[in-house]
Symmetry: C2
Subunit: 332 residues, 2 copies
Amino acid sequence: MKDVAAAAGVSLKTVSRVVNGESNVNDDLRSAVLESIAQLGFRRNASARELRQGRSGTIGLLLEDVADPFYSILSRAVEDVAREHGTMVFAGSSAEDADRERDLALAFCERRVDGLIIVPAGSSHSYLLPEMQAGIPVVFVDRPPGDIEADVILTDNRGGSRRGVEHLLAHGHRRIGFIGDAPEIYTAGERLRGYREALESAGIAFADELVTQAPPSAASTAEALDRLLGGPSPATALLCGNSRTTVSVLRELARRSTRLALVGFDDVELGDLLQPGLTVVAQDPGAMGAAAARLLFQRIAGGSPGPTAAPPQTVTIGTRLIPRGSGELAAP
Amino acid sequence: MKDVAAAAGVSLKTVSRVVNGESNVNDDLRSAVLESIAQLGFRRNASARELRQGRSGTIGLLLEDVADPFYSILSRAVEDVAREHGTMVFAGSSAEDADRERDLALAFCERRVDGLIIVPAGSSHSYLLPEMQAGIPVVFVDRPPGDIEADVILTDNRGGSRRGVEHLLAHGHRRIGFIGDAPEIYTAGERLRGYREALESAGIAFADELVTQAPPSAASTAEALDRLLGGPSPATALLCGNSRTTVSVLRELARRSTRLALVGFDDVELGDLLQPGLTVVAQDPGAMGAAAARLLFQRIAGGSPGPTAAPPQTVTIGTRLIPRGSGELAAP
DNA sequence: CTGAAAGCGCTTACAG
DNA sequence: CTGAAAGCGCTTACAG
């Protein structure tokens, strides 16, 4: 900027004014400055600017895995909202590892992000308290944080799951299985709860042998199906607690050429092209990302935290049941 | 850092040494400093550090759309390599818009990224020349840049396409259609070329009515299929030039209950669960992202550009033909 | 409308 | 092993 000023024969401050699009600059000086900028290939140094301003114009986005379709759609929605606010996005994958989540979050804070959106992997987030008190707003998505109070955007997991089971009940099923992710995972727990509630409301006793909770894998899915279909009173329908499990179940059913009424939690691409089409309880990752980003920028604009700030919000986003065939197979 | 120094009763420079993990610090002083850091909730300001060091420890990643599975997998691979180098990733979606690409790329440069990975949307990249001369290495992925010489990582589009057609030829087909993306798109052009080459090698005349080049949409796909299947000598097989087209074609074929031997360029999730399974020429977005990131960090380590630097490299990554049924339907 | 001075929070280069 | 001074490239606060 000093060089540009020298080349244009003006002061550094005038260059600053031009670069920042301030209006109160003489037209001749402005064009002289612009010319020098073009000639020297000048590009303002954001680090210096951030250092002085204290605001970085960036936010951090911490996901489980950027490559997972659910999170990549969420990610794009965050980016689009950030763009409206002239803000860039740092993205990182925690790979469901609490330490990695912490490292990334603190690295973002060291870069003085204006705010943080986190899909929590760990179960304790007190490490963020100093940062939040220092004025970095944090919004959690998909799962609530542990140990601290903060804004969080959730899917209506319990309601969605309940609705999926009710759909199967409406088609005459009474033996309905559930295969979900590991019980430590918040969403897995909520979805199981919805399953139980729906059964209870229908006056059907909960049966242990119809429920599996484990990280999705081909082996665990095969085992779960053995148990579901093997006994004296096999399941005639199944709610899959997440899309990885759904895919795993579909593969295993195809291998066995077994048919089973099926509802998947979370949509999968090409679900409509399967035979039969896959009925799902669809989440809306785009809406979740947008809601998280909107809330975050609201907090950023709100200024300092503390007792004056609005209390933490929990936003629950609804699901949509999409019938495509697999969930409408009638009970034998 | 000044506050930490005061609290610990040492100089600012000693704090700096501790924070940076330098070894030559007395153990007592070190622990005093660490205690003050914990107590004050100190976190080093990366902007100040970057300003002084000139290196930001970030790279920019510019994709067409973070939400697209191909790019989100590529993105994760880039992140993993960046992680090995202690580097964070700024990600942005150009949405296939040249202006947006330019804006994002220059915003990244203003943030003094150490390097840039770009899936080009625009056809001219001379705007990057000043940045590259200023020492920011740029690696292009998936498509080559326009107007400038630079490193680029490509899929073997032509070879893959050729192989897909040869596969269909081997199953007895002679009337093979091609539906690809708009001809301006580099990959679309290369894949069409591969299609032509394969036909030529087999001594089959190129037929205009069997080829469609348009952005994938339900309407354009329906039209294309009308043309392919309508004439006196309809196509018996089809190569789809990209995954969006493939999905669109599958939907349209399902609607018409028409079967057609089909090979898709680029894999799609659940392709194995369709009836018949979807045969594809698979790309390897993870390998592309990793290769791009590796090359970029090599350039970053290499230092200043100019005549001493190694000349631009083009790396071509092979495809894999995955037969799953749809491509093995024999010609009538 | 224009500019000179101070300072953001670090690291670099140097002295002891 | 420890520290005092200068400076990275901007913006802020102020004076004219």
